[in-house]
Amino acid sequence: MTDRINPVEKLERIMEQLAESVLELSDEALLAEITESGGDPQQEAERTRSLLRHAARPQEVDQRLSNVGDTTDSHCCRTGKGLSR
């Protein structure tokens, strides 16, 4: 029965469980785990905070880009439409 489940779905289940397992960790356990894996918790946290701040102020990014005469269109970027060879 389980063999009929495609491997993509199996892999997704594993990744989903791994993601949810992160939420079950205590703060201390999480910090310890990151330190153990060679990372710097403070540095990682600040990088994430900076990432969120940038996302919260997209107009600033647009403003800066418009100052250099460019505009953003994520759809074009992703699909390749509008790209010249």
Binding site: E12, R13, I14, T48, L51, H54
Partner: protein
């Protein structure tokens, strides 16, 4: 005769007929006979649902309009009898109130066109050139399930089906996904299963359990749950018995459209950019790390074909907060009842869950036209099954992951259980203690994470091609 011309014979079991709906409206009109203010409010509601009287085509003509799909074609009913108790009104495309084709008796709304061809209780086929349907008076609704995350949700607890439909219509027109319950017990069960909601609308006069009691029960589950209690029997809030038990809950006595919207807007204040900014500053180190790791693992669910990273996903989740506020209102906004951390986790989860069902085939295959514009060859292909190459990649990845734990039977058991969709308890029944399970999960995380990935997690398996 065309199938769509026989709505009554096609109604699923339990579906109240249009006659029953109108009968309920008639009863309510009688009940409001001595209350001019209530009667007027009720008329506004009826007009909102059925359209203004001067636009109303003859009853049976409207009932037989061939332009709109019949409710019978819907996959499930949203308007069963009160005994049906619970029936989510989720899919607007098939269950929308605006698609209902009611029959209006003469005493409700006077026909304005030729009555000779359209007697009240006679079912006749519609004219080919039918008048515009009356439901166009309502604003057009966007899809309730946009690709950008969870939509606003509402629970309507109302024992009168026709009123329940009216409230649902109000909420749907404001882009809410609406669930309805006809009995207090079912309402509480539904709340436990699907709550919290952006708003819960409760009729004060619920038969078995008073609206106030239901509200108090709900507040036991979530003290911050926004609610509106409808109490049209009273002229002022002071008259409503037990009003003081729910001082933070607005009681709506005037059921007019504008009043209802006003109360709704007050319940759901937008989060400003400054507030979001403040919350970002207030996030703790552990919360930030959890968000990052969570996004990194969840992004793997996009099947690794769209080049997204955990960072992209995290930013996308945050952007949804503003999309609803500044766009057309269909985005998922942070309603401040939960912390920003909880909101972002939920947004990430919902984005990836929604995206899982979609195969992004546009990946790398482009053709270029004479003007040098690139077009993806696979843009128009729709599929719900993973492509063969994705299966192959996933299989190889699975083999590689399992291969890393050949010497670790506990981790292997956990991975096997996860891949088969088993929960923690089921996996532990295979002979693992709580500590063994946790240790195994940690080993899996650490191994897949890699020593050089410093808190990333999942990036190794983000893209396997």
């Amino acid at each position: 005769m065309d199938q769509t011309h026989q709505p009554h014979s096609e109604l699923p079991p339990g579906e109240p007929s249009s006659e029953a709906l109108l009968s309920a409206i008639g009863e309510l009109r009688l009940a409001f006979r001595d209350h001019p203010q209530l009667r007027e409010s009720f008329n506004v509601l009826v007009e909102y649902i059925l359209g203004p009287a001067d636009q109303t085509p003859p009853a049976t003509c409207a009932a037989q309009s061939c332009n709109a799909p019949t409710r019978a074609s819907a996959p499930c009913s949203d308007a069963g009898s009160p005994q049906d108790a619970i029936h989510p009104v989720v899919d607007n495309s098939s269950l929308d109130l605006m698609e209902i084709k009611p029959i209006i008796p003469n005493d409700v709304q006077k026909p304005t066109v030729d009555e000779s061809d359209c007697s009240v209780n006679t079912v006749v086929p519609p004219p080919l050139e039918a008048a515009p349907p009356r439901w166009t008076v309502l604003p057009p609704m966007d899809s309730p399930t946009p690709m950008n995350g969870r939509n606003k949700s509402a629970l309507v607890i109302e024992f009168i089906p026709s009123l329940s439909r009216m409230f649902a219509a109000f909420l749907k027109s404001d882009h809410y996904l609406v669930r309805t319950a006809y009995q207090s017990e079912d309402a509480l069960r539904l709340y436990r299963d699907c709550g919290p909601f952006e708003v819960v609308v409760i009729d004060y006069r619920m038969p078995r359990k008073n609206g106030v009691d239901i509200a108090l029960d709900i507040l036991k589950h979530d003290p911050t749950q926004p609610m509106i209690i409808i109490a049209p029997d009273y002229r002022s809030e002071d008259e409503v018995p037990r009003r003081n038990e729910l001082m933070t809950v607005p009681f709506l006595l005037d059921m007019s459209n504008s009043r209802f919207r006003k109360v709704l807007d007050k319940l759901q204040p937008w989060a400003t950019r400054e507030e979001v900014d403040r919350e970002i500053t207030a996030l703790t180190t552990a919360q930030l790390l959890k968000l990052r790791k969570y996004a990194n693992w969840r992004v793997c669910l996009s099947r690794g074909t769209d080049h997204r990273t955990g960072e992209d996903l995290l930013q996308e989740a945050l952007c949804l907060t503003f999309e609803g506020a500044e766009g057309n209102g269909t985005g998922k906004r942070w309603n401040k009842r939960v912390t920003l951390f909880t909101y972002l986790i939920g947004a990430i989860r919902n984005i990836t869950r929604r995206r899982r069902g979609d195969i992004d085939l546009w990946c790398d295959i482009f053709e270029y036209d004479a003007e040098g514009l690139g077009h993806c060859l696979l843009d128009t292909i729709e599929s719900r099954d993973p492509a063969a190459d994705q299966r192959l990649i996933a299989k190889e990845t699975m083999n590689r992951i399992f291969g890393q734990f050949e010497d670790d039977p506990e981790a292997l058991s956990v991975l096997q259980g996860w891949s088969e969709g088993m929960k923690k308890k089921e996996i532990m029944q295979r002979g693992l203690s709580e500590n063994q399970y946790r240790a195994a999960v940690k080993r899996i995380r650490m191994t897949l994470l890699g020593p050089t990935n410093g808190g990333g997690g999942g990036e190794k398996y983000d893209r396997q091609d």
